[in-house]
């Protein structure tokens, strides 16, 4: 294998969206990319709650996680928008601030770790788009998703850094699988996760529900995202709304699941049955197209 990346799992994916972890590992194996385990990695730590609790702790935890990848001599790849936000920001801050880096390293020394600033933190979008390439992905597709109408959910954090062009790259990656991207009015509306910690009712009715209504208005087969928080909110939100008699049935898929399906990886092998809003219709539509 030519390329290898330190796979930063985060919290949500290995604990509650492990079908995404399985799809990622199997798809990368098929593409000939090696994923190295970051043994003993912790929460990134999360860019909202723990950062708000104590920014210094947030910096230390992220530096410790990055130091694990440095030992592996590999750039970090993360699927999660939140983990990317934390690890990338801390990495860039410490690389630019020698004094801060030294302060953090004085504490890391006590646990036998050191942050050197020798690796990059990459979103899975950058790995797929820039390191593997659209051409390689398109050529590896066995089952083009031509029949599939998908709505994108980039998630707020992908818009933070205009220079990285993560939203454009995400769009290109979905197109590389052959799927039809259907625009919808409220693509920039937040899924509702941050508001959940302040006002659960507002989060559900003014964010999640409005987002789902907007997607439903354009009649798609699924929503595709990279962000595990958006995934969780848009899926659980549909179940919460059903209990109030408001019915949506829009499967939420991580990009790696779509990629795995396009690479002809058996959906049961990566656990597509674990979706709380079943994705059977998505699988059937792909099978109809390709026979």
């Amino acid at each position: 294998m030519e390329k290898k990346f330190a796979f930063f799992l985060g919290c949500t994916i290995p604990a509650s969206q492990f079908h995404v972890e399985a799809a990622t590992r199997k798809a990368f194996e098929k593409l000939g990319i090696e994923l190295l385990d970051m043994e003993g990695a912790t929460c990134c730590s999360d860019p909202e709650i723990s950062r708000q609790f104590d920014e210094n702790l947030w910096l230390h935890i992220a530096a410790r996680n990055i130091s694990i990848a440095e030992k592996l001599n590999a750039n970090i790849m993360t699927v999660c928008n939140g983990c990317f936000d934390t690890l990338n920001k801390v990495n860039e801050s410490l690389k630019a601030d020698e004094k801060l880096k030294n302060e953090i390293n004085r504490d890391l020394e006590a646990i036998g770790k050191e942050y050197k600033g020798t690796v990059k933190v990459l979103h899975a979008i950058e790995v797929l788009h820039d390191e593997i390439g659209l051409d390689t992905i398109s050529k590896a597709v066995v089952k083009p998703l031509k029949n599939l109408r998908v709505a994108l959910q980039p998630g707020c954090r992908l818009y933070h850094d205009d220079e990285k062009k993560l939203v454009e790259k995400f769009t290109a990656l979905v197109k590389a699988l052959g799927a039809q991207i259907i625009d919808y009015p409220l693509i920039r509306l937040c899924c509702g996760v941050p508001a959940l910690y302040v006002d659960a009712e507002f989060s559900l009715m003014e964010r999640t529900k409005k987002k789902l209504e907007s997607v439903q208005s354009v009649n798609v087969d699924c929503i595709v995202t990279f962000c595990p928080a958006c995934y969780d909110r848009l899926e659980k939100g549909q179940l919460d709304l059903r209990s109030r008699g408001i019915n949506f049935s829009i499967p939420i898929l991580n990009y790696f699941e779509l990629l795995a399906l396009a690479l002809d990886i058996d959906p049961d092998d990566f656990g597509i049955y674990l979706h709380r809003i079943p994705a059977d219709g998505v699988v059937e539509k792909i099978e109809e197209e390709t026979g």
Partner: protein, 83 residues
């Protein structure tokens, strides 16, 4: 960090941990992860060919001790009482 002021101009220093945050911070400090990890999850992971326990702090418990050591080094003992 400088970008903080640009991105979140209205953010104020935290005086008390909001109740909705407390559970997540407690979980982070106790297990180095935010969600719980159950035996049921381990079984389900194994069924789709994954390592039952992910190779993170859930598997390598010394990571939790390292995090405890870091919180002491940073001097968070007093702040932890706010939770």
């Amino acid at each position: 960090m400088e970008e903080n002021r640009d991105l979140y101009p209205l953010r104020k220093p935290l005086r008390k941990i909001p109740e909705t945050y407390a559970g997540a911070i407690k979980a982070l400090l106790a297990s180095a992860h935010l969600p719980q990890f159950s035996d049921f999850t381990a079984d389900e992971r194994e069924e789709i060919g994954l390592e039952p326990v992910p190779p993170t702090a859930w598997k390598y418990k010394e990571a939790v001790k390292e995090l405890e050591e870091l919180t002491k080094k940073i001097g968070l003992e007093k702040k932890k009482k706010l939770i």
